[in-house]
Amino acid sequence: MSTAPPSIPTTQEPALSVIEPSPTAPAPTATPPPRRGRPAARLAGLLAAFLLLVAVVAVSLAVGAKQLTLAEVWQGLVDPDSPAHAVVRQMRLPRTLLGLLAGAALGVAGAVMQAVTRNPLADPGLLGINAGASAAVATAAGFFGVAGVDGYIWFALAGAAAVTALVYAVGGGRGATPARLALAGAALNAALYSYVSAVMLLDAASLEKMRFWTVGSLASADLATVVRVLPFAAAGLVIALAAARPLNALALGDDQARALGARPAAVRAAVVVTVTLLCGAATAACGPLVFVGLLVPHLVRVLTGPDLRWLLPACALLAPVLLLGADVAGRVLGRPGEIQVGIMTAVLGGPLFLHLVTRTRAVRS
């Protein structure tokens, strides 16, 4: 089975219509523009995405309560005696690395979920997986006195796994329309958040810990956190990338996928594991974030097309751009403090979501 699936998966076509044709543009044609299919162009695109990511990382290191020039940032990184060393190494580098990691994890998780549920609105935040992780973390903080990411991570993984399994049971099969799946997820979110607030209510100490964490923030990051969640996120990313080709085949339907040599049950199991690892790691480190996993695949799909072998790496590069960009915007807008990144993604991503569901054909009834 050396050949890729022969045609573009039909179930993902609606997502292509994220861009509305302007009145002057020619009407969209059924065949995609030929240039997008060329590997060279796609490689160039990935390279551009990488350069964009490097630029955002540089901005994230430089911008904050104390403005630094790029030269100062470099000095701070390499020279322990420079005045910027403490700011760069102990505060901005960890949060930037965490933003990279969490962004990539959520973006790829969203893309994989959209592929396997064949649902353009699948997102770890909207479907309650991040909320499941935070409910488990609330349990850990409220009832077992666990504090810090070392303890959170296992609870977060367990919570994410439970909700992933539930979402998969509800939305993995045929017949769940985008609106219904999103609604089931929203209901699940509401239930889990009411649990989290009940825990916060019963115990003032966990309220003090949790009210900052539930918003979703990169601010509390240190290098130990990054190191702690890195193996889980990395494992999830590797499995996701390895599953890209069989997932492409799965988009054609189970029978076709089997004919192409993929094993649907095994692929779906791998996806559940991946999503659990990615969402659990991201949520344990920076709290529940919504919309990153939803929007990035939609925006990226416009550039790469629905082929997951290109979509997933592009998501891994561009989702951190969105997350770090939102984080930087939160630092600039919230001066002298900051607005947590979870609020920035909700406030920036929400209108985009509304646009997606009301103004485009991405979601039909």
């Binding site: 609105l121 935040g125 909207l126 539930l166 049971a169 509800v170 017949g175 769940a176 329309t177 985008p178 609106a179 219904r180 799946l181 999103a182 609604l183 089931a184 929203a186 209901a187 699940l188 979110n189 509401a190 239930a191 889990l192 958040y193 009411s194 649990y195 607030s197 009940a198 916060m200 209510l201 019963l202 003032a204 309220l207 003090e208 009210r211 900052f212 539930t214 918003v215 979703g216 919504v290 919309f291 607005i339 947590q340 979870g342 609020i343 993604t345 909700a346 406030v347 991503g349 929400g350 209108p351 979501f353 509304l354 569901v357 009301t358 979601v363 009834s365």
Partner: protein
């Protein structure tokens, strides 16, 4: 379906729905008597009834009339208002999960209240801000979802998006306050009947007195016809767009005013209409029976919240949240099996 004719007037009703509704009213009242009788000064149901009918000692009159009855009345009204609002919402979006706590109205009311908590303000300002927040969210939903055609699924998706944005904003507002304020805000967000009295019950009763006839008798028959589909309903003479707008405003008002009184008590608006449908086995929104069941549900939850842990009163929202969450998971499983999800 039973029809009662008296000369020129006739009333149609389903016997089972009527019985369920009456049963829920009786259950709500019985639970209410139990709830009023409990506390630091326990009273038997007979004593409670004697006091309520005017035969109590001054002490009993004070305890029941001033302390416990207002809370019970608030609970009954909040339950009824939330259930009616939820039933209307579910009928509007034609989905059993499309309740106001999932589509952002509750979160909007919470945003208004949280702003008052963070800025600082009286209880009255908090209630007013909750109503304003809920109404503003309803208006936003209307503008986003219905500006280009009234489709249930579009309202659902717009509501989910708005709810997600507002959840973020609410979390941010929680981090802005001092810890004491944050604790107060979380308590409000969960929904609690502690210390509620006539000041909360009276505005709610007035809202219900206006909106219940509008919804039940003004819009109820037309709402049932829209279940045939928009086109059929329009052909039968239902002004679909206008009807939806009126119902949306009414439902948002009901939920917001209820939230202003007791906080957004979780899941009553979602579960009460459902349980009603299961009990009555009648098609359609079952609005009146849902109200009765909602009232009974909230009084029962409040009773559990007061008595479950001796010496430690839970806010009622924790109980409804736990019950509602369990019910929801079960619902997801069965709806999925039945192919309705």
């Amino acid at each position: 379906m039973t029809v009662v004719r008296v000369r020129h007037w006739s009333v149609r009703f389903r016997t089972r729905a009527l019985l369920v509704g009456l049963g829920c009213v009786l259950a709500a009242l019985a639970l209410g008597v139990l709830s009023v009788g409990g506390g630091d000064y326990p009273m038997s149901p007979a004593d409670v009834l004697r006091t309520l009918t005017g035969g109590g000692t001054p002490a009993e009159d004070f305890i029941i009339g001033e302390l416990r009855l207002p809370r019970l009345v608030t609970a009954l009204l909040v339950g009824a208002a939330l259930a009616l609002g939820g039933a209307v919402f579910q009928a509007l979006v034609r989905n059993p999960l499309g309740s106001p706590d999932i589509l952002g109205v509750t979160q909007g009311a919470a945003t208004g209240a949280l702003i008052v908590v963070v800025v600082g303000g009286s209880t009255l300002a908090l209630a007013g801000a909750a109503v304003v927040g809920g109404l503003a969210t309803g208006l936003l939903l209307w503008a986003v979802a219905w500006a280009r055609g009234a489709h249930g699924h579009r309202l659902i998706l717009a509501g989910i998006g708005v709810a997600a944005i507002l959840t973020g904003v609410n979390g941010w507002l929680l981090t802005r306050g001092q810890l004491m304020d944050a604790a107060r805000a979380v308590l409000w967000l969960t929904g609690s009947l502690d210390g509620r009295g006539w000041a909360q019950a009276v505005p709610l009763a007035a809202t219900l007195a206006v909106l219940v006839p509008v919804v039940l008798f003004g819009c109820g028959p037309a709402l049932r016809m829209t279940e045939l589909g928009d086109d059929t309903a329009a052909a039968l003479g239902v002004p679909v767009r206008g009807l939806r707008t009126v119902l949306l405003v009414a439902a948002v008002l009901l939920v917001s005013v209820a939230a202003a009184a007791a906080g957004p008590v979780n899941f009553v608006a979602l579960t009460a209409p459902h349980l009603t449908r299961r009990l009555t086995r009648a098609p359609g929104p079952n609005l009146a029976a849902a109200m009765a069941l909602g009232a009974a549900l909230l009084v029962a939850a409040d009773l559990v919240a007061q008595r479950a842990f001796t010496g430690h009163q839970l806010p009622v929202g924790v109980v409804t949240g736990a019950l509602g969450g369990g019910y929801l998971v079960w619902l997801l499983a069965t709806e999925r099996k039945a192919g309705r999800l």
